[in-house]
Symmetry: C2
Subunit: 359 residues, 2 copies
């Protein structure tokens, strides 16, 4: 431990990332990757890259990608900033809108990176606890305002439950908040179309940012691409001031664009995830592991005492069998497992393994 | 302008990046890229990448690359952190070692990104002016300590002059500083071997970080790869706390490793840059544009009043001819141009163009 560390950094714990075995054999249902492969157009774009293009700096603001994103969402280039995964988007929102010594708002439990980034930034965390049924408390905005939250991150669909909040509720929260509301839509691509969820009208407000990522919906977790949408008044300081000047490398700009433009292919994968999600939730329910209705690519299952197992023991059992799922030793979650929806074969392997212990 | 921006962000100016035309025709001598192509081994590594590997998160700490870097420098994996270019390394050093409201030390003029990053961080900048002959003032460390600098960035070879400070002077500065000394060696690969410059012994100290980049020496500016070396007490909090969890994407880890391991090829390019640097400095000198002795891949030329031109007018003249060089409207630099050493053909084109105006 060094005397040179900032006090807030010295005092904090780093983010605990999910295990990332590189063996290619493990059934990875622990970090919510998309089970289906990247678009073949991404491979074609990659095959087309001549390393001589890497000799010079990349286009600083990833404008081709920004334009494609803007067109998809019916907004302008200046309403988009491209980031190294959603994680960089979150960090940049903090560094742009939260004073050091200021506060980040969140509803807990949620994405465990939020408080880590706040700690790095030297900001306080204002936590509002979810109700026992995972719903947001009525006084959410008032509590966050009372705590001085300059930025509030709400993940929707929620992690780790997968529950989707409708856009009217988000709009009401944004209207009541004194600070910026960042709607973290990392998992939004997996929402059932019949839900008619559409957060884009929120961008008419001056205090809303919407986060998207290529990691889940476009099977590009290994590439680190995400983006923020928002009014130009919120996006411009990120693009022109707080972002590293060349934050997106040349290859990611080209390959990401190709994957993003192959929307029909991506949508096919999202539909398969939804179909497997229903099947998996039903099968787990038959094993006594109930879950809230998920609109994401994961399911949060409850491991009841009557099962004769604990979430921690099931996690260990599955790991021994080469299947990784996520266990969080955190309030409201110690009797739960978060399980990524895999391919049909992976889900079958999971169910088979759990059947051996639970029946 | 938004009411939601932090006051320090609202008040600041963003970094002015050098122009990055993507036309492939411009002679780019403005942002210190390496004129020689990337190693063919990097192309082979790129050609070998299957996008299916991008579906999952990358190895979080880029350990294969860390190990290769550690081996090259005769240190351990835990003394290395890999970053998205040198820029991310600088930002991380600030976020790890400088309090908000604290101070970043620097000698001016220098890399214009340092004060921008300090502004983003909400830190003050303690500037110590270089002497008129570009040498560091004797009271450097005392002035930085008096200003409360928690981190001091010194670029060596210096930018924008290219002058190399010897390691004994750096060691003395580090010994006198109360805070961390970051030696920014972005251009170190171009130092004449006969100078026997070796900063690695500084890593025995508990307050020194050394920054390197792949952008210049390995012709990979478009890929965004750099690294910091230091004692584990300084490196570990960056690796485990302040860094984004998956900061280096899968492709960069693989392609960067291949380029880094092709040392013989890279060294050949460095030697050619040195040879062209001498030729270019001599030719510019004959045109009346003198320069300090550069150990980097650029030359800072003085445009004297007697030349009948100004630095700004030469910059504009060259730009009209499709040749970009860098002009800084900043103290000590308004009568200077920073010119990247290009290929022999590019340097000839530059000299030809200048000859038309200056003779």
């Amino acid at each position: 431990m060094s005397n040179y560390e900032r006090p807030n950094v010295r005092a904090m714990q780093g983010y605990t990332w999910g295990e990332q075995p590189q063996d290619g054999r493990t059934i990875k249902l622990n970090t919510n990757e998309n089970p289906y492969p990247v678009s073949s157009r991404a491979q074609a774009a990659l095959d087309n890259i001549d390393v001589s293009a890497l000799r010079t700096y990349p286009q600083p603001t990833a404008d081709k990608l920004r334009d494609a994103i803007a067109e998809r969402h019916g907004i302008a280039r200046n309403n988009v900033v491209v980031t190294n995964g959603g994680d960089e988007a979150l960090r940049l929102a903090l560094s742009t809108f939260v004073d050091s010594g200021g506060a980040l708002g969140m509803a807990t439990p949620s994405y465990s990176l939020y408080p880590v980034l706040a700690n790095v930034h030297g900001a306080r965390v204002v936590e509002v606890k979810l109700n026992d049924d995972w719903s947001l408390p009525e006084n959410l905005a008032a509590s966050l305002n009372a705590g001085g939250a300059e930025l509030t991150c709400l993940v929707n669909p929620h992690a780790p439950t997968g529950i989707l909040l409708d856009q009217e509720r988000l709009e009401a929260i944004a209207a009541d908040l004194n600070g910026v509301l960042l709607v973290d839509e990392a998992y939004v691509d997996f929402v059932t179309p019949e839900r008619s969820y559409d957060s884009m009208p929120l961008l008419r407000r001056d205090n809303v940012l919407i986060l998207r990522t290529f990691s889940k919906g476009y099977s590009l977790a290994g590439m680190r691409l995400g983006y923020l949408l928002g009014p130009e008044s919120l996006i411009d300081p990120i693009v022109s001031k707080t972002r590293d000047s060349y934050n997106i490398d040349h290859i990611s700009q080209a390959v990401g664009l190709a994957a993003f433009e192959d929307l029909a292919y991506a949508q096919q994968g999202w539909a398969e995830v939804r179909s497997e999600r229903t099947r998996l939730a039903n099968a787990l329910g038959q094993l006594g592991l109930s879950s809230p209705p998920s609109e994401a690519n994961f399911i949060l299952v409850n491991v009841p005492e009557t099962s004769g197992s604990t979430a921690a023991s099931l996690h260990a059992h599955l790991k021994a069998a080469g299947i990784l799922v996520r266990y969080f030793d955190a309030p409201m979650l110690t009797d739960k497992l978060r399980i990524t929806v895999g391919t049909a074969e992976q889900n079958d392997a999971l169910i088979d393994n759990l059947s051996q212990v639970l029946t």
